[in-house]
């Protein structure tokens, strides 16, 4: 099979629907290692990928007033066991624009792979930007994933990010997202990860609520078992009047796994407020016994509880 077919096969296994890449009304970008193997755009969306030695540089612009009707689909990955992929994204969502992106990152055979993503994102006024990223890894854990994003959000805008890594071994994972939110704008950042074996998970999500009446929610749902280790740093700073934020971190551990949550809550304006909740522990006994009292075996009951949390 050619790289394209192999990527689509892995993409489908990751939950993607390959037919989207054949629809001319749907913008997309498929990148295998440092090769662009599929790309198309729609009116009002500028999507310019440029191959580099180790990956690609992408410029993504949604022009002023343009609302992209269909989700923009991205697929990044490496099919062989070894390799490096560095994705540099410069995205600009202009005033009154709207776009949703769905990125599938597929590394089904990873033994020695590095996947780095570095994004600089600017969201204008009255704009909406949603970025969903789903990872699909193999069972060896031989992968290092390093996503980094610096995001600026203008006035009256909305930023949503959803990251999930629930299929296959995590490997070594180090996410670092930082966002600055201006007047009346909203930040909604979620990460869901399931680690096992000797996976290492480190997440830093930071939101700076600098605008009046800005809002921020940082949400993490992490499950670790075997010898996996997770460390979640949720940092929310509110420095403007009526800015409000909340940090919500739940980590479930099984076996010899270890989990750490570090909420950093910083308020520098007397009219601002940030709250946080963090819970770390084994799967709730009452939840498990409730499902067992319906006839499920303990293992299955735990799967349902953890699966629901990560859904």
């Amino acid at each position: 099979m050619q790289d394209y077919e192999l990527m689509l096969d892995a993409y489908a296994k990751a939950g993607g629907v390959p037919s989207v890449f054949k629809d001319s009304n749907i913008a997309h970008l498929i990148v295998h290692k440092n090769k662009v193997i599929g790309s198309s755009s729609v009116k009002g969306l500028i999507l310019e990928p440029k191959e580099t030695e180790t990956g690609i540089d992408v410029v993504l612009t949604v022009e002023k007033g343009i609302k992209i009707e269909n989700i923009v689909h991205l697929c990044f990955g490496i099919i062989p066991q070894e390799g490096i992929q560095e994705i540099n994204i410069k995205a600009r969502i202009e005033d009154d624009a709207r776009v949703k992106l769905f990125a599938h990152c597929v590394f089904p055979n990873a033994v020695k792979i590095i996947h780095k993503m570095e994004a600089e994102i600017e969201i204008g006024n009255n704009a909406y930007y949603e970025y969903n990223e789903v990872h699909f890894h193999g069972e060896t854990g031989g992968i290092e994933v390093v996503p980094k994003a610096r995001i600026k959000v203008g006035n009256n805008s909305h930023l949503v990010t959803n990251f999930s890594l629930l299929h296959g071994r995590v490997g070594v994972f180090n996410l670092d997202y930082e966002s600055e939110i201006l007047d009346n704008s909203t930040l909604d950042m979620t990460a869901k990860i399931y680690g096992y074996g000797d996976d290492r998970i480190k997440i830093r999500e930071a939101g700076y609520l600098r605008g009046r009446a800005s809002r921020g929610l940082l949400k993490s749902r992490i499950a670790v078992k075997d010898n996996a280790i997770s460390e979640i740093i949720n940092e929310l700073t509110a420095s403007a009047p009526d800015a409000k934020g909340h940090v919500d971190c739940v980590e479930v551990i099984q076996g010899n796994a270890q989990a750490k949550a570090i909420p950093i809550v910083n308020v520098t304006n007397e009219l601002a407020k940030v709250t946080h909740e963090a819970a770390i522990g084994r799967v709730d006994k009452k939840q498990v016994q409730t499902l067992m009292a319906r006839g499920l075996e303990e293992e299955k009951a735990i799967d349902i509880v953890v699966g629901g949390m990560l859904k």
């Binding site: 009452k286 939840q287 067992m292 319906r294 006839g295 499920l296 009951a301 509880v305 859904k311």
Partner: protein, 249 residues
């Protein structure tokens, strides 16, 4: 026919005697209520019958359908047709109401899921896709618990204070649901501290200080409870209660 028999169960948790020498027999096809004040040991009895992991009796036996289930797991007991609806049901992030109700069904039946919600006066179109999480009120969660039990169609269900946290209007509905359970062939062990709720039972056992002190017709036992147990004298005059318990035995 006897569906559940408890023989001289004693439970001690962290040095405190919770159940002592408790025996009980429940007939198949009946509503059998356990009436008692707070801290009488009613919920602990429910957990012992269900086999919950922190409630392992130090002495005594539990028989279900003539089989000794004292050492069986919660799952095993549930597969035999025994289940429990908790006083404060657990919440599940990411699990929809329809999937939660389906968990206990032998074969998933969408019509029965819908019907079970209607039985507890929850409009299926409003609830099927909702999550069984903290967005539900306590009352909604309890109704969904009853709907799940109805859909499971167990042989015996222990309802631990299904009336607590429920407003007066909803109480009638809960009572109707309990009667519907009986009608579908499920035996109900109804735990309550309200004698008016207990009156829907065929038989009532009065529980005090970890044991059954009286058993009989619901109205008679309820009258005794109202006259002698409210307020609960165990907290005010423990020695008097000792006499009362021994006298009732």
């Amino acid at each position: 026919m006897e569906i559940l028999r408890i023989e001289k169960i004693s439970l001690n948790l962290e040095g405190r005697q919770i159940l002592e020498d408790l025996s009980l027999s429940v007939k198949s096809g009946t509503i059998h209520s356990i009436l008692g004040s707070n801290a009488a040991g009613k919920s602990s009895l429910a957990y012992v019958i269900m086999g919950c992991c922190d409630y392992i009796a130090q002495a005594g036996k539990v028989y279900f359908l003539e089989e000794d289930i004292t050492h069986l797991s919660v799952s095993r007991r549930a597969k035999m047709g025994l289940t429990l609806a908790w006083q404060e049901p657990a919440r599940f992030e990411g699990l929809t109401v329809k999937d939660y109700i389906a968990v206990g069904m032998k074969t998933r039946d969408e019509d029965l899921i819908t019907e079970s919600l209607r039985h507890v006066l929850l409009e299926p179109s409003d609830y099927l896709e909702r999550q069984v999480d903290k967005t539900l009120s306590g009352g909604e969660r309890k109704r969904i618990e009853l709907a799940a039990v109805f859909a499971m169609q167990p042989r015996l269900v222990i309802l631990d204070e299904p009336d607590s946290g429920i407003d007066i209007l909803a109480l009638d509905n809960i009572i109707n649901m309990i009667k519907a359970l009986k009608k579908q062939g499920t035996t109900v062990l109804l735990i309550t501290h309200r004698e008016e709720v207990s009156e829907i039972a065929d038989v009532t056992s009065l529980m005090c200080s970890g044991t059954i002190v009286k058993e009989g017709r619901p109205k008679e036992v309820g009258k005794h409870f109202k006259e002698k147990c409210i307020p609960c004298p165990t907290k005010a005059f423990p020695s008097e209660v000792d006499k009362q318990v021994k006298g009732a035995k």
